[in-house]
């Protein structure tokens, strides 16, 4: 058994840098764009469950194989699978090289990306994240500083955190908001 600490380290160092490629791969092979994030998380779960017994030597080929099998299984289950999809997937299997880890970001690149990612999120969300990250304020302190409610700060932090993480890992920096929110309020934020 691999202990949690080693598993986590492997996941962060070997698997997460593949996220950009993995997302592109899922998108290319899955028609329902709303399901892409769910599929990615399912794949991560399977990747971790498999690696729990022994860490695979080649993370790229391993993640790719799990992603592919999972997509084929989901496609079979959904019964709307077209022959093309499975054929495409088989073809894609011939080219593992499309799956490549993002090169290690230098500190400078990381700063640039964090900066750009922060610029992508809505204004209020951005300010809340900035106060937290740059000035080290807690939720309570941020609420006092901006004179807004604690629960608003909590929601904005969570939202900003998800968006920024998505961007840092090579995504678009756009995330789905919790379902309960009304459309009008959403518009008011951005």
């Amino acid at each position: 058994m691999v202990d949690d600490e080693a598993l986590k380290r492997w996941f962060c160092q070997e698997v997460l840098p593949l996220e950009g490629s993995l997302m592109a791969f899922i998108r290319r092979n899955w028609r329902e764009s709303g399901e892409v994030v769910d599929l990615r998380q399912d794949i991560y779960e399977r990747v971790l469950n498999g690696a729990r017994h022994a860490l695979p030597e080649h993370a790229t080929a391993y993640v790719y194989t799990i992603a592919r099998n999972h997509l084929i299984n989901c496609a079979k289950r959904s019964r709307i699978v077209s022959f093309d999809l499975v054929a495409d997937l088989d073809e894609a299997y011939q080219s593992v090289e499309i799956f490549h880890p993002e090169r290690q970001l230098l500190a400078r690149d990381e700063l640039k990306r964090a900066y750009t990612g922060l610029d992508q999120v809505p204004a209020r969300c951005r300010e809340v994240v900035r106060l937290r990250k740059v000035e080290g304020l807690s939720t309570r302190e941020t609420a006092n500083r901006l004179n807004i409610g604690i629960d608003t700060v909590e929601k904005q932090t969570t939202l900003g955190m998800r968006a920024l993480v998505d961007f840092m890992l090579g995504g678009s920096g756009k995330v789905r908001r919790p379902e309960s929110r009304g459309r009008n309020r959403q518009r008011g934020w951005s």
């Binding site: 949690d4 598993l7 986590k8 996941f11 962060c12 997460l16 994030v37 769910d38 990615r40 998380q41 399912d42 991560y44 779960e45 990747v47 971790l48 469950n49 729990r52 970001l105 500190a107 990381e110 700063l111 990306r113 964090a114 900066y115 990612g117 922060l118 610029d119 204004a123 209020r124 951005r126 300010e127 900035r130 106060l131 937290r132 990250k133 740059v134 000035e135 080290g136 304020l137 807690s138 939720t139 309570r140 500083r145 901006l146 004179n147 807004i148 909590e154 932090t157 969570t158 955190m161 998800r162 920024l164 993480v165 998505d166 840092m168 890992l169 789905r176 919790p178």
Partner: protein
Amino acid sequence: MSASEIEITAAEWLRRSEEPEWSVADQAALDAWLGESMAHKAAYWRLEHGWRMADRIRALGPSTGPAPRTAHRWPAWRYGALAASLCAVILSASLLRLERPRAAPAAVARFDTRVGGHSVVPLPDGSRIELNTGTRLRTNISERGREVWLDRGEAYFEVAHREGLTFVVHAGPRTVTVLGTKFSVRRDGDIVHVAVVEGRVRIDDSARDAPAASAIVTRGDVALAQGDSTLVTTRSIERVEGDLAWREGRLAFDRTTLAAAAAEFNRYNRVQIAVTDPAVASIRIGGTFQAANVEAFVRLLQEAYGLKVQRNGDRITISG
């Protein structure tokens, strides 16, 4: 639960884990949640990793936010916020000039470890800080001054000497000032414990300017400050090193009461030891243990001291 719902829950946990109110019980609840499924771990680890990568924006410093893309569309509240942050910067600058900030002003960087955690933080000035279990601290290191706020827990400092530039550790009711030395500060609420391995440090009451309240602590000294009093005891350097055994993941006891030893173990582990019997609690023990190995410690109590051990989930009760 869908993947996005799990992600939102994971983000909530991550946010809460950074709050000053985060407790050992909260950490236990998070660990339990993570233990529930690999999907929870995947979501949490991913967010935590990406969120740490984004820490780079600290380099922007408190006064320079990202430039707005469309400044004229800013809602009015942003101007208020901007004015407020400018005020805060000016305020903290004037506090620094007085050299006695009462509350921690905006800090540039924040570091923390969870229960059982241990991490080493190199600072831009060449100093380094080692964080022990359940520790949170903030640093503000610049050309003008070097300040650290120990919000909770324990840390070992190796301070690089910089001519004329002091290094100040604010630990609640006490302020520790140094020029270049190796020492550790531990904070249990209002009790501050300072052990010096090399060089010398000065401990002041954070609330008062009176030099009479200062205590100088040198190599081999251990200071315990609580309320108005600061007690300095000279110990052998071995004893000071015993206090710092946590740096190697060990706990060293020397004629320590069982109650105190159990409390030490509890700082590092989710499994908590309770000593119910006062006569048993005052038994003195000695030895060196792996901080994470509660089992070995409990086994010793059972076998060598003939004490009764009862287990109930994450709680181990010791009695005579």
